[in-house]
């Protein structure tokens, strides 16, 4: 078995119009910039994939990554907890113009819904959001004298995540806080694609150190020295690049 694929282009080739795409990252930490930009490049060349639902904690920052997907008009719905950032204009302008839908989910509920999707749990109860506007229309139940809100699993057609080291079998480790949603998203998508800074042969990762076991990963693509979204934004980068 070998889950390595040779190019970013191949990694994003099969994502169809209308797909639900989970994208790892919390702000710039863990954002798979190269995979996202490969997806944008494919859209610019072929007009596809479009009408995407994107699941991420945020809704893009600046003019790269998810913000650039939104600027290109590829995204019709965001499912996220915090659609604000240092420069949220890409999302904000389209949201206020009614061009993009928002499903706002409390951050811990978002994480647990994704985990539940990956773990085969269709619904669960959480205290979060009880009695608030975000619980409207959802079933409520009492357990041991406290009230809880029923939330449903989240699944996706594709997960695009960034990891640090990956082996041929898809076992992954991450770098510091960059893991955030990635191990959950890897479980919850039909096809999970990881860009990794370093590819090693099986045995190259200590089994005790594996964070995402390879069973959750379908494809590994090597991206040495990946871009950091925060650095790109501090350099006012755009994708695609604005002609000089």
């Amino acid at each position: 078995m070998d889950k390595r694929i040779s190019s970013l282009t191949e990694a994003v080739a099969d994502i169809p119009d209308g797909a639900t795409v989970m994208i790892g990252g919390f702000g710039g930490s863990g954002a798979p910039i190269e995979l996202i930009h490969a997806l944008i490049d494919r859209y610019l060349e072929t007009g596809s994939p479009k009408a995407l639902t994107v699941i991420n904690n945020n809704a893009g920052n600046g003019h790269v990554g998810i913000a650039a997907m939104i600027e290109q008009g590829m995204v019709t719905k965001m499912i996220c907890s915090f659609p604000r950032s240092a420069d949220p204009r890409a999302f904000t302008e389209r949201y206020l113009a009614g061009e993009i839908e928002l499903e706002l989910v409390p951050q811990g509920t978002l994480a647990e819904r994704i985990r539940a999707g990956g773990a085969g749990i269709p619904a669960f109860y959480t205290p979060t959001s009880f009695g608030t506007d975000l619980a409207k229309g959802k079933p409520v139940a009492e357990f041991e004298g406290r009230s809880y809100v029923q939330e449903r699993w989240l699944k996706a057609d594709v997960a695009l995540i960034k990891a640090e080291v990956g082996d041929h079998l898809g076992n992954l480790t991450y770098r510091m806080a960059a893991r955030n949603f990635a191990p959950l998203m890897a479980m919850a998508a039909t096809r999970s694609v990881a860009q990794v800074s370093q590819v090693v042969t099986p045995g190259g990762i200590d089994p005790e150190a594996v964070v995402t076991p390879g069973i959750f990963i379908d494809a590994v693509v090597s991206v040495p020295n990946p871009a950091q979204e925060e650095d790109l934004n501090r350099a006012n980068a755009h994708h695609p690049q604005v002609p000089a």
């Binding site: 009880f130 009695g131 506007d133």
Partner: protein, 223 residues
């Protein structure tokens, strides 16, 4: 109005109630300042929602590693004993009752402990982050806030008028004028600035302040 505590002084006061070894989550913004005022000899362990426990202070400018950030997306540092984990584990720590204290900001707090701190109404882009999770699960949910709004209107109210973050969740409020507990559906005054009379404080508060034992002087150093 008489003089009031600065944001840093409110944070200092809140820090005095955090015991050694406590697991603490500080909300984005000025609750983060609480970390600076830990009393000598005590060491709390700070949690951030994006998946770090036991992180250190901000690095020097130019030393940032943007994979090592807090929930406010500011760079932090490693310390001996730092742990990383994914988001589901992070919010298990939050909702599962493992945090000793969560300290948040507030637009409004009601006398039954309802908190409004995420939305000022239907305008603009709504954003919630981890606030609705944090108000459930921590053993103590405290708020630090100015006692009144910028327009001088009370923030401590009989009931909140803004969209709620959580129902009956706040247990203590540190304000620019007082320390108030929420007990049995009412505000109980614990401390107030010595120069401020009870009646003055009551006039700046949107619900009755109850007395239960002595009211201590709220004395905070210049910080």
């Amino acid at each position: 109005m008489t003089s009031k505590l600065s944001n840093a002084q409110i944070a200092w006061r809140a820090a005095q109630d955090i015991h050694d070894g406590a697991y603490v989550n500080l909300g984005i913004g000025y609750p983060e300042m609480v970390a600076r005022f830990q009393p000598e000899g005590r060491q709390a362990i700070f949690h951030t929602e994006n998946g770090i426990l036991g992180f250190g202070e901000a690095p020097a400018p130019g030393e940032e590693d943007w994979d090592l950030i807090n929930a406010g997306k500011k760079a932090v540092t490693l310390k001996p004993g730092t742990a990383f984990f994914h988001h589901a584990d992070s919010f298990a720590m939050v909702r599962g009752g493992h945090l000793d204290v969560a300290i948040l900001g507030a637009y409004q707090v009601a006398q039954n402990g309802d908190l409004a701190n995420w939305s000022t109404g239907p305008k603009g882009v709504p954003a919630v982050g981890g606030a609705m999770d944090l108000v459930h699960g921590a053993k103590r949910v405290a708020v630090i806030t100015d006692h009144v709004t910028k327009d001088g209107k009370p923030k401590l109210l009989e009931s909140c008028t803004l969209p709620l973050t959580g129902v009956g969740c706040v247990t203590r409020i540190y304000t620019s004028l007082a320390v108030v507990d929420v007990e049995g559906g009412r505000f109980v005054l614990r401390e107030k600035l010595p120069a401020l009379s009870f009646d003055e404080l009551q006039s700046l508060t949107g619900a009755p302040l109850h007395l239960q034992g002595d009211v201590a002087d709220l004395i905070v150093p210049e910080v």
